[in-house]
Symmetry: C2
Subunit: 220 residues, 2 copies
């Protein structure tokens, strides 16, 4: 990034090389479920959270609430919730698909050294309500932007993130004893990946391939 001026006239300019590497970052970001047990340094994690905190938010409300889950007992309760919901999800498929589902590794809760539960505050003072009167869901959307920023930033450090959603949101709030008004958005497993892949695990496991963009683009 090169400056072409200063102060108000400064204009960040990104190079072709940066753009190529940024595309590499997007292509190599993965939902990671296979973690090494090596710790993530506290300073590194904190830096990543500071970067994630730069994410866009409706009305500048910064509604994300991030809980580092460190208690072994609470982690075990989260694992139980995952196992119960994952078994229930499997039973909802017919026999063949259920068998395939049960083969998938869908979370790295037991191996990941860092667990982050992410919630969204549904009525923050910050932002004075701007931008969310017709669409209150933009608060949770802001929180998702924070998560996605964290995910990409982590990847630049060689750290993987796995987003676990096969959980009972209410139960997670109870386990973690957070403000019952907070909306549960995501449970993140964070750590160094065992393997690097450019293709999603669900694609390699023949559960679901990506499809061409054209099917998702429309003109009016």
């Amino acid at each position: 990034m090169a400056a072409s001026g200063s102060g108000e006239t400064y204009k960040p300019a990104f190079s072709d090389k940066f753009r190529t590497e940024f595309e590499g970052l997007l292509r190599w970001r993965r939902d990671v479920r296979r973690f090494r047990r090596d710790a993530v340094k506290a300073d590194t994690l904190n830096h990543l959270l500071e970067l994630a905190d730069l994410a866009p938010s409706v009305g500048n409300s910064q509604p994300w609430r991030i809980v580092a889950v460190e208690s072994a007992a609470k982690r075990a309760s989260v694992v139980s919730s995952f196992e119960a919901e994952n078994a229930a999800a499997a039973s909802a498929y017919d026999d063949e698909k259920a068998a395939q589902y049960r083969q998938l590794k869908l979370a790295g809760l037991k191996e990941a050294p860092v667990h982050l539960a992410v919630f969204s505050e549904p009525n923050p003072d910050q932002g004075h309500g701007l931008g969310r009167m017709t669409m209150p869901e933009t608060l949770a959307y802001s929180t998702v932007s924070m998560i996605h920023t964290f995910w990409l930033a982590a990847r630049t450090e060689g750290i993987g993130v796995g987003w676990v959603s096969i959980l009972d949101p209410e139960k997670i709030g109870e386990i973690l004893e957070v403000d019952p008004k907070w909306q549960f958005v995501a449970y993140l497993c964070v750590g160094y990946p065992e393997e690097e892949h450019i293709d999603p695990e669900l694609e390699r496991a023949r559960w679901q391939s990506r499809s061409p963009l054209d099917a998702r683009l429309f003109r009016r």
Copy 2:
């Protein structure tokens, strides 16, 4: 990004220089409401959408549906919806705050050369339902990840994005004549910014500053 192997053993490695520039990208990404009227090349826009399409999605479902709004009549109807909802939002504040609200420029709908309406398919076949049984909102969250990826990718090309949420979601679906089941997630104004800023417009206008991260971090 440097290779340290090939095929399955290839491991992308990001340099300190890349990380510094990536942090610059996060710091200089802005919600843009002041656009130049210069066109964005179709090839550039398409490339950005291809990059955005690399975003994570629950079960690899890719639920985003992107509508390029090109019709002048439809754009005018969107502007009307914005103006009505923006006036209603202003009246919800007390006198002083309402006056301040009315001074804010909250959208660049009339100047931005590219308009994208983004919806989420609430029941995609793709993904076979994986990961969303207890949290169907993860579909819309996936769509938000796509939008955020687009936003960052655009910024690397010097292109600004403004997310407009002061709209009636149902009305936008009707104006654009899309599948009524689609969930409206965002209306994006896209184009070259008139000005570059490292601080949010809402901060400069003294509507809402960002606050320190510590208030949003918890341990359990």
